[in-house]
């Protein structure tokens, strides 16, 4: 016995969305039902006519406002202009009497302090959080090994903040090279698969700074430093990031 034919089957027949077997069952049904055949054929003709009527729109040349490459580029520009301005300020400082400065490129990134930390963390987030194969070097099953390794390389006791109360599971972590020595990166995710990265290293500049937001290419972070250790929590832009960063700061400061 075949399953009775439903209205949904008839619609899927119109859309050519049926499996071959079901499709032939529907055809058998239609061959004995001229009224339904007329109705279905009318829908099929209507579908084809609608596609034909709207097809030309999709072949029109795209207007300049819809140039995606340029839109992506425009997103990056404000940051570059800011950096260029900052570099110009550095030039003025040099003219003002400071010697021995080297101004490297107009778009050179900030190399010191909390802004540099934010940039390094954003780089790590972009490389590792998008990695579906091996986002972390050591996973949460070897948490103790990871903590020992990172503590040894960073020269201080590191701890893994627990964000499970906020719905984020600890995935694991790795060491990341930076121009200022090793940094530790811990990764978390929630049940939607949204990933967060906590990034931390020693600071020689900006040793104690309040929390500040930074963002780049849709990646947002909240960075701060305390007693010579810099931290930043990085993730997709969301209002929930700041409270999470508060929670991390609370936990790392009590374990000091």
């Amino acid at each position: 016995m075949t399953r009775p034919i439903s209205e949904e089957d008839l619609q899927a027949y119109v859309d050519e969305a049926l499996e071959p077997e079901r499709r032939s069952e529907v055809q058998d049904y239609l061959s004995g039902n001229p009224d339904e055949t007329r109705r279905v054929e009318r829908y099929r003709a209507q579908r084809a006519a609608l596609r034909a009527a709207l097809a030309p729109i999709a072949t029109e040349p795209l207007p300049p406002e819809l140039n995606l490459a340029r839109m992506i580029e425009a997103r990056r520009r404000p940051r570059m202009e800011w950096t260029r301005w900052a570099a110009a300020a550095v030039v003025l400082l040099c003219v003002g009497g400071a010697t021995g400065w080297s101004v490297r490129g107009a778009t050179q990134r900030e190399t010191h302090g909390i802004v540099a930390l934010a940039g390094e963390a954003a780089d790590s987030y972009q490389v590792y959080a998008s990695d579906r194969v091996r986002p972390v070097e050591m996973d949460e099953s070897d948490r103790a090994g990871l903590v020992q390794w990172a503590s040894g390389r960073l020269g201080r006791q590191v701890s893994v903040p627990d964000l499970s109360a906020s719905g984020y599971r600890f995935m694991g972590g790795r060491l990341v090279p930076t121009p200022h020595g090793p940094a530790v990166m811990f990764m978390y995710d929630d049940h939607h698969g949204t990933r967060l990265v906590l990034f931390s290293r020693q600071m020689t500049v900006d040793q104690n700074t309040p929390m500040s937001r930074h963002s780049r290419d849709g990646v947002e972070g909240v960075a701060w430093s305390n007693e010579g250790v810099g931290y930043t929590l990085v993730g997709p832009s969301s209002p929930g990031l700041k409270p999470l960063a508060d929670e991390v700061r609370r936990q790392v400061s009590t374990t000091l």
Partner: protein, 175 residues
């Protein structure tokens, strides 16, 4: 981001078509698509893992379009003669342009929910599950709306449904 360019750029023509068929206004439609792409760029990291971004892009666009249409109010939606026919079916020498125009005017008489399901499934080839995601309704609702939309459009085209509001001639623009 270059991955985004590769995956998203090929979808832009279809996004334009959907936006224009919904709004029947070329400029408003392209504004919607532009807005949709801006959002897609800033949310790209949220999407990532799920293969083809097509349904995701249509969801962003659909939500923007629905908000825009709601803001525009129902009065404007009655003004079906307002839209330039050429804005919808451009090639000038298209022989069956008149029928196309009728069909698109018929489409205009469907409510927004019926129109969008007809376009997403029938024209843009989204699966029923994808259309359900875009419209944020269960698949069963997609199927029943689709069925009703097709029947209503068929009746409109056969002249069985003359639900032209009494106010319409006032809105008609004489060209």
């Amino acid at each position: 981001m270059s991955e985004m360019l590769l995956l998203v750029e090929p979808q832009i023509p279809a996004l334009r078509r959907y936006a224009r068929a919904l709004t029947r206004d070329r400029d408003a439609a392209d504004d919607l698509v532009q807005d949709c792409l801006e959002r897609a760029i800033s949310r790209w990291h949220q999407w990532r893992e799920k293969g083809n971004p097509r349904a995701w892009l249509f969801s962003i666009l659909h939500n923007l379009a629905v908000n825009r249409l709601a803001k525009r109010g129902p009065t404007r939606e009655l003004a079906i003669e307002d839209a330039d026919e050429g804005a919808l079916a451009r090639p000038a020498q298209q022989p069956d342009r008149v029928q196309h125009g009728d069909l698109l005017r018929g489409l205009e008489q469907l409510n927004e929910a019926q129109r969008s399901v007809l376009l997403l499934v029938g024209v843009e080839d989204l699966t029923y599950a994808e259309a359900a995601r875009v419209l944020d309704v269960p698949i069963g609702t997609v199927m029943s709306r689709l069925s009703r939309a097709r029947e209503k459009l068929a009746q409109i085209m056969e002249g069985n449904v003359v639900d032209t509001p009494a106010t319409q001639p006032v809105l008609r623009r004489i060209k």
